[in-house]
Subunit: 341 residues, 2 copies
Amino acid sequence: MDLSDRKKKILQAIIDEYIGTAEPVGSRAISKKESLGLSSATIRNEMADLEEMGYLIQPHTSAGRVPSDAGYRFYVNSLMQRYQLGVEAISRLQEALEDKVVQLESMIKRAGALTSALTDYTTFVTTPGRVSKIKKIDLVPLGYSSVMLIVVTLAVRSRVINADITAEQCDEIASILNKHLAEHSADEISFAKIEEIQHEIEAKTDLSVQLLINILHFVYETINSMNESDIYINNAKSILQYPEYSDLDKARELFNFLEDKENLKLLASAEDEEGVKAKIGKENGLDILNDCSLVTVNYALGDRKAGKLGVIGPKRMNYAKVFASLDVISKEIDKILKYYL
Amino acid sequence: MDLSDRKKKILQAIIDEYIGTAEPVGSRAISKKESLGLSSATIRNEMADLEEMGYLIQPHTSAGRVPSDAGYRFYVNSLMQRYQLGVEAISRLQEALEDKVVQLESMIKRAGALTSALTDYTTFVTTPGRVSKIKKIDLVPLGYSSVMLIVVTLAVRSRVINADITAEQCDEIASILNKHLAEHSADEISFAKIEEIQHEIEAKTDLSVQLLINILHFVYETINSMNESDIYINNAKSILQYPEYSDLDKARELFNFLEDKENLKLLASAEDEEGVKAKIGKENGLDILNDCSLVTVNYALGDRKAGKLGVIGPKRMNYAKVFASLDVISKEIDKILKYYL
DNA sequence: TATTAGCACTCGATTAAATTGAGTGCTAAT
DNA sequence: ATTAGCACTCAATTTAATCGAGTGCTAATA
């Protein structure tokens, strides 16, 4: 069932061509390539073979050939030329990711944006769920009977609470919270623990119980929300750019699909394999993605898989470049995160 | 130059119809409306008059009429039926805005999202520049020689700084920073002031000067960045929905335009008038928006204009609903902000 | 005098037909 | 085994024919 060397070369030439043009490629176009030096008739014969083997598809009798899912798969697995990001490109990436590292989440978001800038495809990133340990909790009075609750881990989350308490009371509560919660990871903190803390605070201050419950409720909720991983999409508009989505309805459909975070999370929920992986067309298992490929990579926080970075594009995407980009960027993220944790 | 009552009614009927269908409206369609009881011939005569006066346009000889910019303008100024948001709709809005008020910025973002959900048009919001006073500055050691800098105003901004300092040093620096900066508004804080603080810290701690300069640099930059207003766009994809953008190239062009924050800021930079204002077609002064209308409203933080909320849609947008929505939402924002400040 | 019925006319949109051309498969020659 | 040559196919493009919504104008009517 192996392909002859010649067939491989021809298949590769066809796919390379198709990736560039999005038009079915004919035998003549291939025979013109110097490197092969075969007549169109010969190419035609080989193409007929490749079609029979399932690597190519003829949209209609008098058209050229188009790669099938299996064709792309073979291309990705064995044919694709390695693509090297330029040194300057890489160092620009490193700079962009490191230089202004403001915060975990925004760094991750930026990684998604960079990937999409680099490849010009739609991308998504998921932020790490169950993030690192709580470093500090703070209650800052804002005046007008509201306080700002701030929880610091590698990320920072804040929210305003309406509560009429003094600065001293804020400090007191915060210090008790910190005593119990600092250096614990968010997913260790049960509601029971919070109740325990509540009793301690009740004993030490003269706050109204109702108010205290209220505040602790927010604390609990905020901490919990940090456990949830979120997902961001970039450059969705790029799908308008590819001829496979020149049908407005199709484009809109995909748009709507991608806009729903639940759908994206579904996509991002795939296995935790090593390295860059592609899912081509039907392999995605979703009708709406039959004409798309999804290329993803995991990044790690310390030693466990933390989140995922992915590219969504037409099946005839520039796999080589996408693979290289995801590889480089995910490794940069790993490096930066390792450094933090 | 005044329009007869009958002409007004006809113009209104035409625009209402056109808003609903996006198709040039013919005399027959209007004459069928019970409320007028005129024959199509009469309507035709009136339409011819209205066209001469510049309120209507005939795309070609054998088509119905379409409102001109002037027509829409007249409609918005004098004809449009007031639209009342339902009580439940309003209270749902209030809830959505208040209930989970997490933070100034996310509330503002949410307001934009709500407007777009309500109207189904593309919306934008700008966050307040020169935000309220600094409430607190915090330095939290994260371990691995990095610290998180946190600046609290009505918003919270944070960033990671690589600096090898102890928890005690953090506290000390933070307390000096707070002593000098808390309760000052961000735009009062000059670089000179920061340098002054630097000298005080130098005297009181044994930190390396270079490190200290580095940290204070980030403090200054972060505070400064809080002075800048940002802009967010929602539901850009909705432009794919309207027949006026069934031309993919036009849609893409507008998409690209709207994606660039600089462009949006330009749009949002308009005058600080009271109340909801519309700019129709050419009134926007940008070719790319010739087929769009922009409806905006300012919201206030305390007593000065703080930011802007806007809707971008086709010229034949549902002005009544958009005006009502913007009115209600901006007032809700005002209410919430007044409450905070 | 204002309104309306009636009719010829216009012109974009739709449908149908004709043409083109890229590409194939097969056969026979090299 | 390869290739030149040729008949054939079929989507895409071009051209022509038809349709119909809507108009403006005129003459009749209230």
